[in-house]
């Protein structure tokens, strides 16, 4: 696919002479020339073999080239590194692969392994997850390199999470496209016509550049698209030949690097903003619901201003840290029940915000639905996601009729809405009265939440409330950042921790693809390390076991992170699902000797996560089952993390 100019005369086939030579000694008998092959009599169709490879095939797959011909001129991949360096990309977490060996070499040698620095990952899903977490802590995207086929296949779940969570990740997949010249065997297994097809349903944009100039444009465009709200992952297929061939002139000169100029984010229509302000100003009980409304710390300030202008209660659904939990206008999800106007800001699921679904086997097993809100409640939405909605994956959720729907970025639209509201609010005294009711409701809700947290306080295994509050007690005097909380701990951090700063809470996975927590924590901790913050994660057992190798990456690259395990020894959502179906069918759930239904427990044997972490270079301790032992262990672990190392505590917990 690489664009072939008349000069220079050295193609990548010559570069690969050494590779061919390595194989030639051993594979000459195995690989016939096309002419010889054509002369062969027709034989039975070849079928895949499960036999061990021959010595020749094994050597061809694993052998080291004896001699590599030097490529004259500047390698194309050096230019690619020049392009990447213009974009302030600090790290490149990746699992190494031959299809991008040329840019890998350029990055670490020509590019001096800086901006970006290559970080060694043991799984592509971990690399994408790290980039995901990093962005939410730093506000800057990372790139990752991977094999365009098998590597991208590994990466896909992480890409889907980033897509659903509206996070930019630049994915570059190596791919040897020229079927006539690429090496046979493994490199051909690892090539495809269109690798980006794997992730096209859940990336904002992708491209397959065929020249270096094309690459420069594609990469800058990819960065620009990824970073324009709504953010999202992008993919570039990078031909192995294009990486390896020397740089050629383009249109009479050297390829140029386009300048990156950020695109202004989309703003809600001014007429719709006025109508929204009119409805909100006239409301008796307006309620604000935010999911991914705040993209930056300024988004939090704007949301506070909006809430205070209206004295409206705010439900923060937690896709990001949108609204301080210490503010008296912070409200639980049930606050929608008595609203007369609800404004949803970047909600991932407006339907479920105002309706409930009960999985109770009613209606022939499909469950029952009910409205959570009063008849006649007016709904307003500001969301940019409609701009990138695609057809296949159903992340757009159920359809909800909205009275004033606005396509636009919420954070960008809020200043105009606030200004309109300041003009539109007819009776400021009436609005102020709402404040008193909100303060009372906030105080009562806090007391109820603390009462609930005290239940089972001294239980063993340790209650999730105790777990979360012991962790908070250990980090509260630091500039902490809860980088992930996977596995459902009954939302205790969101209910009890004083989230105030944007980095206090980085949200969840987006697509609920399990396996996000561990890599996203490490990625966010990397960003926080550079920003001087203390990173803490609540790490579930099932999540960690998808790709635990990211623990090694954290130790290897000296990324300090306190990972406290919520080890409930099961895939607990599925524990409940199978129990539910057993009950619906009047059958006793088969536990198979475990606590949860067969296939849902992670026990017998119990995984010793502390030993797993230790084996990969972490300080670790556990299993901790007695709540009285948790506080002292946390003190030790915090000191370790402050010294620059990652630390893990394996804590046995209640299920939720």
């Amino acid at each position: 696919m690489a664009h072939k100019d008349a000069d220079p005369k050295v193609g990548r086939r010559k570069f690969l002479t050494g590779v061919a030579a390595a194989g030639a000694a051993t594979a000459a008998t195995a690989i016939a020339t096309p002419a010889a092959r054509a002369a062969e009599p027709a034989s039975a169709p070849r079928i895949p073999s499960a036999l061990r490879p021959t010595m020749q095939v094994a050597a061809a797959e694993t052998g080291t080239p004896r001699e590599l011909a030097r490529v004259p001129g500047t390698p194309g991949s050096d230019f690619m590194v020049d392009v990447i360096k213009t974009l302030d990309i600090k790290y490149c977490p990746s699992n190494c692969a031959s299809s991008y060996r040329a840019i890998h070499e350029s990055m670490i040698n020509y590019g001096a392994n800086k901006m970006p620095e290559f970080l060694t990952c043991t799984h592509e899903e971990s690399a994408v997850g790290m980039a995901h977490g990093y962005f939410k802590a730093a506000g800057k995207p990372l790139m990752t390199l991977c094999h365009g086929t098998v590597g991208l296949q590994h990466a896909t779940m992480g890409v889907y999470n980033a897509w659903c969570d509206r996070v930019p990740v630049i994915i570059v997949g190596g791919n040897d496209m020229d079927a006539a010249t690429r090496p046979p065997g493994v490199p051909t297994f690892h090539s495809a016509q269109d690798i980006n097809a794997l992730v096209r349903d859940f990336t904002k944009w992708d491209d397959t550049p065929v020249s270096l100039q094309h690459f420069a444009q594609s990469f800058v465009r990819a960065y620009k698209i990824a970073m324009t709200p709504p953010h999202g992952p992008v993919a570039i297929s990078l031909d192995a030949g294009l990486q390896q061939e020397p740089m050629r002139n383009h249109g009479g000169g050297k390829p140029y690097i386009p300048r990156y100029v950020p695109t202004a984010p989309p703003q809600g229509d001014s007429g719709a903003v006025k109508e929204a302000a009119r409805l909100l100003a006239a409301a008796q009980n307006p309620v604000i619901v935010a999911d991914r409304a705040a993209r930056t710390p300024n988004g939090v300030k704007l949301l506070v201003e909006l809430a205070e202008v209206l004295q409206a209660r705010v439900i923060d659904q937690g896709g990001r840290m949108n609204f301080p939990r210490t503010h008296y206008l912070s409200a639980p999800p049930t606050a929608v029940n008595n609203a007369d106007v609800i404004i949803g800001l970047e909600l991932s699921d407006f339907w479920a915000t105002v309706n409930s679904y009960t999985d109770n086997a009613a209606n022939d097993g499909i469950g029952s639905n009910a409205s959570r809100i009063k008849d006649g409640t007016k709904l307003i939405s500001i969301s940019s996601v409609e701009l990138i909605t695609k057809a296949n994956y159903q992340d757009f959720q159920r359809f909800q009729v909205i009275d004033v729907p606005m396509v636009g970025d919420a954070e960008t639209t809020l200043p105009a809405l606030i200004e309109e509201l300041k003009r539109a609010v007819p009776n400021k005294a009436a609005v102020e009265k709402r404040a008193e009711a909100a303060k009372k409701a906030y105080a009562e809700a806090r007391a109820r939440t603390k009462e609930a947290a005290a239940l089972g306080w001294d239980a063993s295994p340790i209650s999730t409330a105790r777990l979360c509050m012991e962790v908070f007690g250990a980090v509260k005097d630091l500039d902490w950042s809860l980088v992930a909380s996977e596995g459902n701990v009954s939302n205790w951090p969101n209910r009890l921790w004083p989230f105030e700063k944007y980095h206090h809470w980085l949200g969840r996975s987006g697509g609920y693809g399990v396996g996000y927590g561990a890599p996203a924590s490490v990625g966010a901790a990397l960003a926080n390390r550079d920003l001087g913050r203390f990173s803490v994660a609540i790490q579930s057992d099932g999540d960690l076991m998808y790709a635990p190798g990211v623990l090694w990456t954290a130790a290897k690259h000296k990324i300090p992170l306190l990972s406290v395990m919520h080890n409930n020894r099961g895939y607990h959502q599925e524990v409940m699902h199978v129990q539910r179906l057993s009950n619906f069918r009047d059958r006793v759930a088969n536990l198979g000797g475990d606590m949860g239904p067969v296939g849902t427990s992670i026990m017998n044997p119990d995984i010793e996560y502390h030993k797993l972490a230790e084996s990969m270079g972490w300080w670790a301790k556990g299993p901790i089952k007695d709540p009285a032992q948790l506080g002292p262990a946390l003190k030790e672990a915090v000191k370790v993390v402050q010294s620059g190392q990652p630390a893990l505590l394996n804590v046995w917990t209640q299920p939720r």
Partner: protein
Amino acid sequence: MRNRKRFALALASILTAAFGHAAAAAGSAEKGKSAYVKHGCWQCHGFAGQGGVTGPKLAPNPLPLEALSAFVRNTRGAMPPYQSAILSEADLADIHAYLQSLPKAPDYKSIPLLNP
């Protein structure tokens, strides 16, 4: 969750009125602890009956046995029903006895970590 709690409390009131304060069938707290785990009550309500986002608290001060039984057998809410084919009356009485045996939680005001 709150609706379910309200329903359960309403049901408890009705049943208490209907049955009076009849003594609950005597159950064994020790057997109930095993039955509580075996039948999966812990999954949504926790091993200490403390509740969480997936289910309300069951202890301390559980519903009267009659109310608990009526709810467990007939629920059409988020909790799946347990018919007698999968949870016997004896096991249910034992579970109730176990829930009654669980100690009262400390006052949250006395826990420093809940009052940072």
